[in-house]
């Protein structure tokens, strides 16, 4: 029997989340490297997902294990974890990858605990060692240190990866092969007391999603005021880009947490990143260092962000930001 690399497909509002396609794309490459006809497969849990399963096939999943029931519409660790752990125990994948999303970060380790196997969290890369075992690269100390995490004696070797780390390939037409999971044995859990998922509330995304923006304007503590933040928003809008933030900017209340970049936020790789008033704490750099070109504006010439910038402006955000807004405006006339 050929080896298998599994990806757990995350569902948000009835659709497969983008991170799943990124993970499938990486899994496809790893399967090629592993050789011997290694196949990529996916697990999918939710309600009314038969159609969506087709997308997984187009991104390389040779087989999709689908647990589909109206009672599975909302994520719950009480039901999802046993379903996935039992599937993995029965089918013995070599590797099992989850998105390090809000849901995946809770579900993945629960599945790992049930399987008594190891899981590398928030990996920034997944490689194979000379024995074709998973070598996960994991940041710690806010990204200052990268460590290899191996899982040498247990299967599956599990890992979680944030959205935006891997690049999604183009889908190719492919018929889907779905294996429906028999949910009879889980009936008891459906009605279990103690924890009930009530609903999901989405805040409408403000502006362009960060991971789709080609230019990202990121503001840090050095932005200094709500007024400057508003200028940043205006500029991002004119450029067809998005704003991003660091933790201190969120703490100041200039913006919400939704567009925070770094180890406790998102990972981005826009064509151009411009940082305003960002000192460059490792927590933040870890989330933006894959950007195409990095431009930084900061008053302090000692700012660590300058070390990781292609272009640097040692200057006052209060002056540079309005000047840039004017320059862009005049180009539009």
């Amino acid at each position: 029997m050929s080896k298998k690399i599994w990806v757990h497909a995350e569902v948000a509002d009835g659709k497969i989340a983008n991170v799943t396609y990124e993970l499938l794309s990486k899994a496809y490459d790893l399967a090629g490297e592993m050789g011997d006809g290694t196949e990529v497969e996916a697990t999918l849990v939710g309600s009314g997902l038969e159609e969506e399963a087709g997308h997984l096939a187009r991104f390389g999943a040779k087989k999709i294990y689908l647990a589909d029931d109206s009672k599975l519409k909302l994520y719950s660790p009480v039901i999802y974890a046993p379903i996935l752990a039992d599937l993995a125990a029965a089918n013995s994948p070599e590797i099992y990858i989850f998105g390090a999303t809000a849901t995946g970060s809770a579900l993945g380790p629960a599945v790992a605990a049930r399987l008594k196997t190891g899981m590398a969290a928030h990996c920034v890369n997944l490689l194979l060692d000379e024995r074709k075992q998973l070598k996960a690269l994991v940041p710690s100390f806010g990204g200052k240190v990268i460590g290899e995490i191996l899982c040498p004696s247990k299967l599956p070797q599990m890992a979680s990866v944030k959205p935006g780390i891997f690049v999604k390939k183009d889908p190719v037409p492919m018929p889907k092969r779905v294996e429906k999971v028999d949910l009879g044995v889980y009936e008891k859990l459906f009605d279990a007391k103690g924890l009930e998922a009530v609903g999901v509330v989405r805040r409408p995304p403000e502006g362009l999603p960060l991971n789709e923006a080609q230019v990202v304007l990121c503001g840090g503590y050095g932005i200094g005021s709500q007024e400057n933040w508003n200028t940043l928003e205006k500029l991002a809008h004119l450029l067809g880009g998005a704003t991003a933030s660091t933790r201190p900017a969120v703490d100041e209340g200039w913006t919400g947490e939704h567009n925070m970049v770094g180890t406790s936020g998102q990972s981005i790789r826009p064509k151009v990143y411009i940082g305003f008033g960002i000192s460059g704490a490792t927590h933040h750099i870890c989330g933006m260092n894959e950007s195409g070109v990095v431009i930084s504006v900061n008053r302090d010439e000692e700012s660590p962000i300058f070390q990781v910038s292609d272009f640097l402006v040692q200057g006052d955000v209060n002056v540079i930001l309005p000047a840039l807004l004017e320059a862009v405006k005049s180009e539009m006339e």
Binding site: A12, Y75, S76, A102, T103, S105, A106, L107, A110, A112, A113, K116, G118, M119, A121, H122, D129, V138, P139, F141, G142, G143, V145, I146, G147, E148, L150, P163, K193, G194, L195, E196, A197, V198, L239, G240, G241, S264, K271, A281, T282, H283, I285, N289, I295, Q307, V308, S309, D310, F311, G315, V319, I320, A323, L324, E326, A327, E331, M332, E333
Partner: protein, 275 residues
């Protein structure tokens, strides 16, 4: 209602100083000389949630940590903030633990405590992640070992009735809402509450509160195959500091000139400026 609450805490190097973390090139170990040790910041939110529950209802708050012997200090801090008792699980046999072995050790510490106290914990609260390793896996895995429902990234915990809670967990662009009853394991986020400050009175009181250290022999029910390095399915390989250095060309001139050069760079990299 009476709620008995356990709060899992961890000593971490102060995150403000992570730029000083280096790797010993010969021994291939992490050097963190001179970086002070703190109670993991978000663990304070877990402790605060526990104290608020104790105040709203009645009950007990027990702080527990699996850490090296010098972690007594952060447990003393937890006592000063308001925990009733503290337990440190510390033994060479627990060392080298990954999240699975860590959560297993905490699980057995809690079981032992429950047996000693004659009650079971209604809430087990953890910070949703540690500042240093930041795997964020321990709370979920502890929930699995305990066989309790677990939620992660909890930013709201409200009473519906004294036995039922409305809980919100963060999602990308939104949140998920839950109805839940004890027993529960919750990994809480920093938005859940504002941790109280340590008072002088608290520090005085903490000196007389029980702080006990338990070793391997104190957890006889725990199996060696799940403890410490041996019980850790993940093993660390090489470590390195990523080289993210870029060329750092200086853009100088008047603000207008600098703005013009940025526009040029934007265009050169495929960003449409002004059609």
């Amino acid at each position: 209602m009476t709620y008995n609450i356990a709060v899992c805490v961890k000593p971490v190097p102060d995150p403000k100083h992570y730029d000083k973390v280096t790797i010993d090139p010969v021994r291939k170990t992490i050097t963190r000389t001179g970086i002070p040790t703190l109670l993991n910041p978000v663990d304070k939110n877990a402790l605060e949630a526990a104290l608020q529950l104790r105040e709203q209802y009645t009950g007990t708050v027990t702080a527990i940590s699996m850490a090296p012997p010098d972690a007594g200090e952060i447990l003393r801090e937890a006592l000063a903030i308001g925990a009733d008792e503290a337990y440190l699980l510390s033994d060479r046999a627990f060392g080298g633990a990954d999240t699975l072995a860590t959560s297993y050790t905490l699980f057995h510490g809690l079981k032992k405590l429950e047996a000693a106290k004659g009650y079971s914990f209604d809430f087990v609260l953890c910070g949703c992640e540690s500042a240093d390793g930041a795997t964020a896996q321990v709370s979920s895995q502890l929930g699995e070992w305990l066989g309790y429902p677990h939620l992660w990234n909890v930013f709201s915990l409200q009473e519906v009735d004294p036995k039922t809670f409305s809980i919100k967990t963060k999602l990308e662009n939104g949140y998920m809402e839950w109805r839940a009853q004890a027993p529960l394991v919750l990994g809480v986020s920093r938005e859940l509450n504002k941790p109280r400050f340590t008072s002088v009175m608290g520090i005085m009181k903490a000196k007389n509160k029980p702080l006990q250290v338990w070793g391997r022999e104190d957890l006889p029910e725990a199996k060696d195959e799940f403890l410490g390095l041996k019980g850790s399915p993940t093993q660390p390989g090489e470590i390195f500091t990523p080289d993210m250095k870029r060329s750092g060309k200086v853009l100088a001139g008047t603000p207008e000139e600098i703005a013009g050069r940025i526009v040029t760079i934007l265009r050169a990299n495929g960003v449409v400026v002004g059609g």
